[in-house]
Amino acid sequence: MIVLGIETSTDQVGCAIGGVEGMLASFHAARGRRHAETLVPAIEFVCKSVDIELREISVVAVDIGPGLFTGLRVGIATAKSMAQGLRVPVIGLSSLDLLAHQVRWSGRLIVPVIDAKRGEVFWSFYRHVPGGVQRLTEPKVCTADELSNEIAARGEECLAVGDGALRYRDILSDDLVEFGGQGVAYPSATDLVELAHPRAVREEFVMARELEPLYLRKADAEINWSTRSSA
């Protein structure tokens, strides 16, 4: 069973292909051309480099967010479209799950933090459990200051990872907080494939049209509208 992973929720664009034999090939780029320009040629390259025909793909896995809207949609639209064209199902995974997975052996409270721009971050709390991580709270969006308060209120040693943690390091810094480095700053397409594979085997997937992005933030007009309506 071959799984294709598509990851575009942050400034990094990535794709990977793998199966029972493990990871076969992957591509990641954190700067340069836009996600929409890079992604499809990268998928083509990754498949060709390990002699995988596109029709051998059984499942398309994709990061559904939270993350940067425009990039996120490029990945989700590409995943839905490939699944539609290949007539295969899709598996959606959260960007925060993927970030936490990268540091799953830590005994500390794991806090994946994704830069949501405009001074805000997407985040959640996780803990190591045998075989991976367990999410403790619902994913949220708030300012870095508010997250700092949440961490302080928790009062335990934690490991903050992700581009949001690095960007707001000054605000989040505290005796209890340790920071993950650049190597774990972005969700990775290889983790996506690794996590999606067992789910694919268990047939825990959906059809392309059922896959929904996890935005966490309303469109600006809706926010203004509800403020105006309630005023």
Binding site: E37, L54, T70, R73, A77, M82, G85, A208, R209, P213
Partner: protein, 346 residues
């Protein structure tokens, strides 16, 4: 069924059907068109209701809706046309102009389909798509033709000399015609979108009741619609008891007068054989009527695509995509979208 099953048996047949995808603004659309002229399917999922309460298109909401709607819309277009994906000649998608986030959804979708089906991807200019809408109903359209492209974002007078050969004769120096309709409708409390609302209400009013100014009517080919919008607002404030239907009808009369006068003049000056209407405003009843009258009077052919083909749709993208594929070949899968893409004019 696997993809391989579909490919075999089709190889002998000429590939002439293009899947078109359009997501540049607030319509999620997909269509299958054969040889650039025969519409086998054209599915348009309008988001008008979604944006109506905000009085205009909200880019982020439009992009979100495209992601949700595009997969089922593409599936319906293929099923209705009775076409298997890998049998299409190409997948064409609008790459601009339009809302960047919205465009990217369609481009990403189209490129991924082209990749998995092993067929060419073709990037299409939305404005060129509008020009090709005329060919969908008049495959034998006579060229050169003057095309009056009027929509919420554009007002252009174009001389179409051949496939892919355009001359820009004139365009608006301020508001687009459709924009003026939307703004006046909003001011009159007629809601969004403004074009159909004004068209409807004008039926009950007198177009000669108020003489609104005809901006730049006697200038060559450029347009200006911001003055008339201001006149309407000033007039209604001064005459609060005026019949709104008369205001709508007189406003529409003034705009249509300018549009038709210039299209006619352009056809005469260039020796064009026909006048074509394109773009959302081309669905306006008075504009259609006056254009036809003018063509009859001047001995020109008048091409008025159906209302469904005037407003944004993917059949026009598939059509333009077919011609672009034949003239320029496939577009790279590394292509993106360009919100400010211009019509390639000479």
């Amino acid at each position: 069924m696997t993809i391989e099953d579909n490919v075999t048996g089709e190889s002998e047949r000429e590939r002439d059907r293009v899947l078109g995808i359009e997501t540049s603004c607030d319509e999620t659309a997909a269509a299958v068109v054969a040889r650039g002229t025969d519409v086998l399917s054209s599915v348009v999922s309008s988001q008008v209701d979604l944006h109506a309460r905000f009085g205009g298109v909200v880019p982020e909401l439009a992009s979100r809706a495209h992601v949700d709607l595009l997969t089922p819309v593409v599936a319906e277009a293929l099923v209705t046309a009775g076409v298997e994906g890998p049998d299409v000649a190409a997948v064409a998608a609008t790459t601009g102009p339009g809302l960047i986030g919205a465009l990217l959804v369609g481009v990403a979708h189209a490129k991924a389909l082209a990749l998995v089906w092993g067929v060419p991807f073709v990037g299409v200019n939305h404005l060129e798509g509008h020009l090709y809408a005329a060919f969908l109903e008049e495959p034998d359209l006579e060229l050169p033709a003057v095309v009056l492209l009027v929509s919420g974002g554009h007002t252009m007078l174009i001389l179409m000399e051949g496939h892919g050969r355009y001359r820009l004769l004139g365009q608006t120096i301020d508001d687009a015609a459709g924009e003026a309709f939307d703004k006046v409708a909003r001011f009159l409390g007629l809601g969004y979108p403004g074009g159909p609302a004004i068209d409807q209400l004008s039926m009950e009013g007198d177009g000669d009741a108020i003489a609104f100014p005809r901006g730049m009517r006697d200038d060559a080919y450029d347009f200006s619609f911001s003055g008339i919008k201001t006149s309407v607002i000033t007039y209604v404030r001064k005459h609060p008891d005026v019949d709104i239907a008369d205001v709508a009808a007189s406003f529409q009369e003034a705009v249509v007068d300018v549009l038709v006068t210039k299209a006619r003049r352009a056809a005469q000056d260039t020796g064009a054989k026909a006048i074509c209407l394109a773009g959302g405003v081309a669905a306006n009843s008075l504009l259609r009527e006056r254009t036809l009258d003018a063509c009859i009077e001047d001995g020109l052919r008048g091409y008025l695509p159906s209302r469904a083909m005037c407003t944004d749709n993917a059949a026009m993208i598939a059509s333009a995509g077919w011609w672009r594929l034949n003239s320029d070949g496939p577009t790279s899968l590394a292509a993106g979208a360009n919100p400010n893409l211009r019509l390639p004019v000479s």
